[in-house]
């Protein structure tokens, strides 16, 4: 597979209240971002277990992004604060194990930020595409 043809698999966890709505707004405003991004709706960014992120990589994801309400704006008041700590720790550990830190990201996208959502996804897909296939955290059994 040449670099040009490489289409990354991107899993985006979006909180129901802000980021998922932001993604909807991006759609309503017809703001394009690559089809490589597939969104999973979760009630809150704090619902995302680090296990899910590892699972995505195991299953062949090349990048995982978590989007939630801006800190202070969480629908559940404090959820994204916990998510922020958890993800900081997880990302740090992945980096410590030598896994490309650019493959994981957290972005705060409000329901009003459709344009930001599209911009973030465009940028993330670009970053991951440049990195190429995820080789360091893959499960060979899941390859086709």
């Amino acid at each position: 597979m040449s670099m040009n043809e490489f289409k990354p698999k991107i899993v985006a966890f979006c909180c129901n209240w802000c980021s998922y709505a932001g993604a909807d707004l991006a759609g309503t405003n017809r703001l394009n971002y690559p089809a490589d991004v597939k969104i999973i709706r979760v009630p809150c960014s704090c619902r995302v277990n680090p296990m899910f992120i590892l699972r995505a990589f195991q299953r062949g994801a090349d990048g995982v992004i978590l989007c939630g309400c801006h800190p202070g704006d969480c629908h559940y008041t404090t959820g994204n604060y916990y998510a922020r700590r958890r993800m900081t720790m997880l990302f740090s550990m992945l980096d410590y194990l030598g896994i490309e830190k650019e493959r994981t990201r957290v972005e705060w996208v409000s329901a009003a930020e459709g344009a930001k959502f599209a911009a973030v996804m465009n940028d993330f897909v670009k970053t991951v595409t440049e990195l190429g296939e995820n080789k360091r955290l893959e499960d060979l059994r899941c390859k086709k």
Binding site: D24, I40, F52, A56, D73, T77, A111
Partner: protein, 663 residues
């Protein structure tokens, strides 16, 4: 094994235009567990819903996937459809192939492929769904209105009218808000006090309304139907139950050099004060920053003169806890600070004033008793320049990007009133655009120009320069004559942009209600649910949601009241069944979940367990109160043993979605 039905919606050409819906239906039909797959023009139409209902019955479907618009749009619709056909409403999953697919992709092949993946993901999830039943919680028949301006007053009156208890919390010593400071109202030019004060009195006299003036909301817990709010009653140092509002104390108080905030600091008052004559409640308040007794323990005049013995220098802040079924936010606005607009010399010259200050200067109860005089030398102004859009429509850091909406009209009002009362005064209005949509609004503005001879100038003031002789040299452009005007003015009036009150942001955090980047509360839907916050049970009234004039504010206030009444009229609320639950066999009782729960929904019980070796062991285990749990899922991740899981978004379901996407 589930029997899953897949329904792909065309949404007219919204989806079918970029997604090959037939191919999607066909591909998804081949997925394991899928026994029926079809596509249709409009799934949300009655015919579309009937299609789903028939399929549920004919194929004995145990779960359905609708590939359509965002679940935020029609999830509720399809849940009802399923329920009508006898299928549990939580056996429905939506694949969002419109907002997140057809609308953002142009290539049919790419969009179709993605739609299939999204459909597959929803199928993977629904295969693990379990029927859920919403539990019911009773609704507390009492509403809280935060903010006692015209918005809050109107909402409170309407709710009370329907027979429900209302608490009205106002941070100032009196209700009335900004409208109480306004002189006349457009487009009718009737006096604001004349139409506002009767409403304030109504509030005070209504048995169902309880006014907490000089109070603030301290904390909000709970959820729709059952909010638990702590209200802080700030110490007035005056016993409310004893004060008669006679005002002798305010006359006798020696601390007369206290800035009168009601008059925006344009004149002074005493340290103990009643903001204005028609204040509700009409109770004196001691300004602790200026009172000599409170500061230095010397004075005590007010206490001596008070016949009612109402003065209490030892009064403390009081905290009141109260339960509410609904909360209305009516926190209003303030003009922005003009410190960053040095070109208008607002901080340099007392004769450069904001429009709100002009209201006080022109008001009969204002500092000059209703005669318009220059603040600097109390002389009659002969030339007045109005500058519109100061800080509005301004995308730089010091301004606001939005239109403040009310300035065009009140400036026309001011110009007209001045020309009417002082025909020898020339009035110039610099404008970018004059915006007057509204009943009788444009007519009003035209009257200012045509009947009162106000000079409207298309252009903007670039600089205001105070002159040694006390005049203000105003330099601005007239774009139509292509000239730069230099006007020697006696006064300059700035139509400062309005912004939400600063207390709104911390309040939004307490309420978990979302705000936009300008700190206006966001509505649940910009068109269809304009008076509700996305957070259930929180309603919006007045400028806290966006700039609006008095008629609009009152309209929204009544609308919010109607929504509150609708909510309070319900005997019970169905709660979201997607709540957390703990597997007692796995629970360690370590308290991690309790620590992260924002609702205090988790408690612990000691439970006896039978061990494999047939002994028994008492263990501490977590137990979730489903009525209190809001289903955020923070606990599920905090739990190290995986005992805690979330219905509707279980670990297995989310992992199945991950798997399906990455397949």
């Amino acid at each position: 094994m589930q029997k899953i039905g897949v329904f792909v919606c065309h949404c007219g050409t919204n989806i079918a235009g970029t997604v090959d819906v037939k191919a999607v239906a066909e591909a998804l039909g081949k997925e394991p567990g899928v026994v029926f797959s079809t596509e249709y023009q409009y799934m949300c139409s009655e015919a579309g819903q009937n299609l789903i209902k028939d399929a549920i019955k004919n194929y004995g479907l145990t779960g359905i996937v609708v590939c359509s618009c965002s679940p935020r749009m029609h999830e509720a619709t399809f849940r009802k459809t399923a329920a009508a056909a006898g299928l549990n409403s939580y056996m429905v999953e939506i694949a969002n192939i419109r907002e997140q697919c057809s609308w953002i992709h142009k290539d049919v092949k790419v969009a179709t492929e993605k739609a299939i993946v999204l459909g597959r993901t929803a199928i993977a999830k629904v295969a693990l769904n379990t029927p859920l039943t919403a539990s019911e919680t009773p609704v507390v028949k009492r509403a809280l209105v935060i903010g006692g301006g015209i918005a809050g007053i109107q909402t409170a009156l309407d709710i009370a009218d329907a027979g429900y208890e209302v608490d009205l919390v106002e941070k100032e010593p009196t209700i009335g808000g900004k409208m109480a400071q306004i002189d006349k109202t457009f487009p009718t030019l009737d006096c604001a006090a004349c139409i506002l004060t009767p409403k304030m009195v109504d509030c005070a006299q209504n048995e169902k309304i309880h006014i907490y003036a000089y109070s603030e909301v301290e904390s909000v817990k709970g959820f729709v139907g059952n909010f638990n709010v702590t209200i802080k009653k700030k110490a007035r140092f005056v016993d409310e139950t004893k004060c008669t509002g006679c005002g002798i104390c305010t006359e006798k108080c020696p601390m007369k050099k206290t800035p009168n905030l009601f008059n925006l600091g344009l004149d002074n008052r005493s340290a103990i004060y009643i903001p204005f004559a028609q204040a509700i409640p009409k109770i004196a308040t001691i300004d602790a920053d200026y009172c000599n007794m409170l500061k230095n323990g010397k004075c005590g005049v007010c206490s001596k003169v008070c016949a009612a013995g109402a003065i209490d220098y030892k009064q403390q802040d009081q905290y009141i806890e109260q339960q509410y079924g609904a909360i209305v936010v009516a926190t209003g606005f303030n003009p922005i600070k003009l410190d960053n607009y040095s070109e208008f010399a607002y901080n340099e010259s007392p004769d450069v004033v904001t429009s709100l200050e002009l209201e006080r200067l022109m008001n009969a109860a204002g500092p000059n008793g209703g005669t318009l005089l220059r603040p600097s030398d109390k002389t009659h102004p002969h030339t007045i320049v109005f500058v519109q859009c100061v800080g509005s429509r301004d995308t730089t850091d010091c301004g606001k990007p939005y239109c403040s909406k009310i300035c065009c009209m009140y400036t026309a009002k001011h110009a007209m009133l001045i020309r009417d009362k002082y025909p020898d005064t020339e009035v110039y209005v610099f404008y970018m655009d004059v915006r007057t949509p509204g009943k009788n609004f444009d007519e009003f503005y035209r009257r200012a120009v045509e009947d009162y001879g106000v000079h409207y100038i298309k252009g903007m003031v670039g600089k205001v320069m105070p002159q040694p002789d006390g005049k203000l040299l105003v330099r601005g452009s007239d774009l139509l004559t292509d000239e730069q005007l230099k006007i020697e003015a006696d006064m300059v009036v700035l139509a400062a942009a309005i912004e939400p009150d600063k207390t709104a942001r911390p309040l939004a955090t307490m309420l978990t209600a979302s705000m936009d980047t300008n700190d206006f509360f966001t509505e649940a839907h910009p068109k269809l649910r304009p008076v509700e916050s996305p957070t259930a049970g929180i309603f919006l009234s007045g400028v806290c949601q966006g700039p609006k004039d008095i008629p609009e504010t009152v309209a929204q206030a009544s609308a919010a009241a109607a929504k509150v009444i609708g909510l309070l009229a319900k005997p019970a609320l169905k709660s979201n069944p997607c709540t957390a639950h703990s597997d007692e066999n796995l629970c360690n009782g370590c308290s991690s979940c309790e620590r992260v729960c924002p609702y205090g929904a988790i408690s612990y019980v000691d439970k006896e367990f039978r061990m494999p070796d047939r002994t028994t062991k008492v263990r501490r285990v977590a137990s979730v109160n489903p009525a209190v749990c809001q289903g955020c899922g923070a606990c599920t991740v905090a739990c190290p043993s995986g005992a805690m899981d979330l219905s509707g978004f279980s670990n297995k379901q989310i992992m199945a979605e991950v798997d399906a996407i990455c397949r």
